[in-house]
């Protein structure tokens, strides 16, 4: 009689394998949930990061949602404040950090690309507030898709300004003795 009543208790108290299993199951469930979350989130939100050259070379319609980096050409910036339509053109810069270093750093690369008439170009259209950092020789990173008309319709626009320190000085220092 007494055996019958104590047996189940013994099982749950003294058999650690039984207890651990519950936690292992919980942990595995959590892990599975995280993997599912990550995979489903990646599917909708991952974007290929391309250079202007790569995007223009790709067959039309290959990328529906893509991120492109290039240098802003200051003369091309047009902003219609009333409808908040921003248009500008970017020129190709290399995507590989090692190549950029080899060419003398990002500031140099941006400067060269913006003055190089042979660099391939891409017109960008963006419907929102004009960002403060948008100016000549800034690096623009746009996310969106290439339209059939050859214009890139950006949903997101990030800008990065290289430090001008390296080239900024000579002028000033030469002015003062």
């Amino acid at each position: 009689m007494s055996n019958n009543t104590t047996l189940p208790q013994n099982r749950s108290k003294e058999n650690p394998a039984f207890k651990i299993n519950k936690f292992v199951i919980g942990g595995v469930l959590l892990l599975a949930a995280v993997v599912v979350l990550v995979v489903t989130s990646l599917k909708g939100n991952a974007q290929y990061y391309l250079t202007v050259d790569e995007l223009l070379a790709s067959p039309p319609g290959q990328y529906s949602n893509v991120r492109v980096s290039g240098v802003v050409l200051g003369d091309t910036i047009e902003y219609d404040a009333q409808h908040q339509v921003l248009k500008f053109t970017i020129a190709n810069i290399p995507g590989d950090n090692a190549v950029i270093e080899e060419m003398g750093g990002i500031a140099q690369v941006l400067h060269n690309a913006s003055t190089d008439p042979s660099a391939s170009r891409l017109q960008i259209e963006y419907h929102d507030v004009k960002p403060d950092l948008l100016k000549n020789e800034a690096q623009a990173i746009v996310t969106g898709q290439l339209g059939v008309d050859g214009v890139f319709y950006a949903e997101e626009l990030l800008l990065k300004c290289p430090s001008k320190y390296e080239e900024g000085l000579p002028e000033q220092s030469q002015n003062s003795r």
Binding site: L30, V34, A46, A81, D132, L133, I141, E156, S173
Partner: protein, 676 residues
């Protein structure tokens, strides 16, 4: 002259840090007391040495000697004094030196206060902190020297050098290029130092953990000795993150506070593992559990701190935070890899000694709640890490760089944050050791029922997004359960001790500071959660080009464009400012002045919003553009951010809770008095 002294002090510091490491190792292995004393003195000397070097750099920054590269890059004549001082951490070189200075200061405090008490662990603490200091000093001295000067060579080329090259003359720029305009803000004074204090603060518990591993100490002393360090570091890191959000909200003018940019995430990752550590620390303290886990967590947090410091400086990512690109990337990778492998090796070496005899018994016990809390924090961390390194991973495996945006983090980590809220909601009512679903249900149903008022109110007010409604309910659950538990405990104590409720409240809180401090932090986090839900799910916006006197409507508010002014300021800005009246039901509520500051020296504009804040919502108005000639028409963009204010209020509540948990207990004070 001042620069030479500053540089000389750096050279001495790198030597003393090396001496401290060598003598500490030699002293411990040969058991030579004199060696250990030498090591201590060498380690102590770093702080005064670096303090003087920092003083030298600040003197230069204030003096406006633009022949110095760092002074030229980060200050200009028009900058106010407080920003010239803050320029100390406004550039790569200065901020690295500042980092070193904080590390030396923390080491100094530990060595002054704990030398007798922790004499067996401290030599190894010296080794760890001074190896780290040595590494950073190498960066400062050989890669990012803050004391370089501009020289003009005989051929007219301008170079930077520490010493005057042959046939070269010193360049004398008349003005510096100044700090990036986005950094010229009061936020610059507080946000970076707080973040650095948090980052560097985690090095002390890490050093203790490594010391305990090397010495083979399996007790909890390393953890208990550094409990308050960890909490303080966590406080500063949290403050740094929140202040950064506030700064972004106040000047970046995109209507938000957090953009999941890689650098933000790199500061968020050590916060996640650090928060997990704070929780599992309690488990080791109270139950002797998670011993391996705690060591692993603090190792991970330390490596993430270094990784975060590195990411900000590598120029790998585009971000408002990024410094100019630099050559120090590979050095950082080697350092992180070495520290990670060595620490993990030590942990594996001591693995068997660290096992605890205790097993978690019940699925619904508080122990298992802590376990799941840790798993959730680690899962969120893993998602963040994956997002940050995804471009690198995808390029390795497919040859194509693939990046992920904010939506990835929100949809992958959002549900996990919700689960964390759920855990926070039930944990005050779980019992240690054994607890069943039924027991838990018995205590939790009352506050859970009350908490339903919040989501019901949200639905009545028009919320139709069911995810948002559930999230509101979870935040409400945390608030209701925590308050319920608190009030119930006060009531019990008042009844048992025949005390008035306020006295019961005071004694309860002051006797269990860590417990109630923790609950107050939870309350604060739940309030912050409400703010996040408000802005993420219910933000509305509108924009229009308005002529003088015209208005636009947004969620019941009328926003009227009343005036436009444009003028140059003496500090080198061109300020375009509009006067906007915010009204509701024909009643004016507030007049705000959104503006755009254009900085002539750096050719950059900064958008500063006009803000009306109430407990219900924020109205956030931006001047987008104006017609240059007539300046009669201006483009105005407005956001309504419901509940946003609760984010900031919640963060203040959380800080208060942390301070309460940090406050030394009475017994401790008595002990130190007796000792004295």
């Amino acid at each position: 002259m001042i620069a030479n002294i500053g540089f000389g002090l750096l050279v001495i510091t790198i030597v003393t840090s090396l001496i401290a490491v060598i003598t500490a190792i030699y002293g411990v292995t040969s058991k030579t007391r004199a060696m250990l004393e030498t090591s201590r003195l060498a380690a102590l000397s770093a702080f005064p040495l670096l303090s003087m070097s920092i003083a030298a750099l600040i003197t230069l920054l204030l003096s406006g000697k633009f022949e110095y590269v760092y002074v030229y890059q980060t200050t200009s004549l028009s900058m106010p004094v407080y920003l010239k001082i803050a320029a100390l951490w406004g550039g790569q070189q200065g901020s690295l030196l500042f980092w070193c200075w904080l590390l030396s200061g923390f080491t100094f405090i530990v060595l002054i206060r704990k030398w007798k008490q922790d004499h067996d662990l401290l030599p190894w603490v010296i080794v760890v902190t001074n190896i780290t200091l040595f590494f950073f000093m190498v960066l400062v001295l050989f890669f990012e020297n803050p004391f370089l000067k501009y020289y003009i060579m005989y051929n007219g080329e301008v170079i930077t050098s520490l010493f005057q090259p042959f046939h070269a003359i010193t360049a004398h720029p008349t003005d510096g290029s100044g700090l990036n305009p986005l950094l010229r803000h009061y936020g610059m004074v507080v946000h970076p130092p707080m973040l650095y204090l948090g980052f560097v603060g985690f090095i002390i518990p890490f050093a203790y953990a490594i010391a305990a591993l090397i010495e083979g100490r399996t007790d909890d002393r390393w953890l208990k000795a550094t409990r308050r360090w960890s909490l303080t570091a966590w406080l500063f890191l949290s403050l740094g993150l929140v202040l950064g959000s506030r700064w972004a909200y106040d000047v970046l003018g995109w209507g938000g506070y957090w953009s999941w940019d890689p650098v933000e995430i790199s500061a968020f990752m050590p916060w996640l593992t650090g928060t997990a550590y704070l929780h599992s620390m309690v488990m080791q303290d109270k139950r002797g559990l998670f011993k391996h886990w705690n060591v692993a967590l603090i190792i991970l947090t330390f490596c993430l701190v270094i990784f975060g410091t590195f990411l900000t400086r590598s120029g790998l990512f585009s971000s408002v935070h990024a410094f100019s690109e630099s050559q120090i990337g590979p050095a950082f990778f080697i350092f992180i890899a070495v520290m990670f492998v060595v620490s993990l090796g030590l942990l594996l070496f001591r693995w068997s000694r660290l096992s605890s005899g205790y097993q978690i018994k019940s699925f619904f016990s508080r122990e298992s709640a802590f376990l799941y809390n840790n798993l959730l924090f680690l899962a969120i961390f893993a998602i963040c890490l994956l997002g940050v390194i995804f471009p690198i991973l995808s390029e390795l495996f497919t040859g194509q760089q693939v990046t992920v945006g904010p939506q990835f983090y929100e949809s992958a980590a959002g549900p996990l944050f919700a689960l964390l809220l759920l855990l926070m909601g039930i944990v005050p009512l779980t019992a240690w050791s054994t607890s069943s679903a039924r027991n838990l249900g018995k205590t939790v149903w009352k506050p859970a029922l009350i908490s339903l008022i919040f989501p019901i109110a949200a639905v009545i007010l028009g919320a139709r997004n069911w995810i948002a409604v559930i999230a509101i309910w979870l935040a409400a659950l945390v608030i209701c359960v925590t308050l319920y538990d608190y009030i119930r405990s006060i009531g019990l104590r008042a009844a048992n001790h025949h005390e008035p409720w306020w006295k019961a409240f005071l004694t309860l809180t002051t006797r269990n500071r860590r417990r109630y401090g923790g609950y107050i932090i939870h309350l604060g986090v739940a309030l912050m959660g409400l703010g996040i839900i408000g802005i993420e799910f219910f933000q509305t916006q509108t924009q229009a080009m308005l002529k003088l006197g015209e208005s636009l409507d947004l969620s019941g508010y009328t926003i009227t464009y009343r005036d436009f002014q444009i003028a140059d300021t003496p500090d080198g800005r061109n300020v375009a400012r509009v006067e906007i009246s915010i009204a509701r039901n024909n009643q004016e509520l507030k007049v705000v002045y959104p503006r755009i500051d254009y900085y002539y020296d750096s050719e950059q504009a900064v958008t500063i919003p006009g803000l009306r804040t109430t407990l219900a919502d924020d109205l956030y108005v931006i001047l987008v553009d104006w017609e240059p000639v007539t300046s009669e028409a201006a483009t105005i963009k407005a956001f309504r951010n419901p509940l946003m204010n609760w984010f900031w209020i919640g963060s203040i509540v959380a800080v208060f809770g942390t301070l309460l948990a940090l406050w030394p207990s009475r017994e401790r004070k008595l002990n130190t008095k007796e000792a004295a």
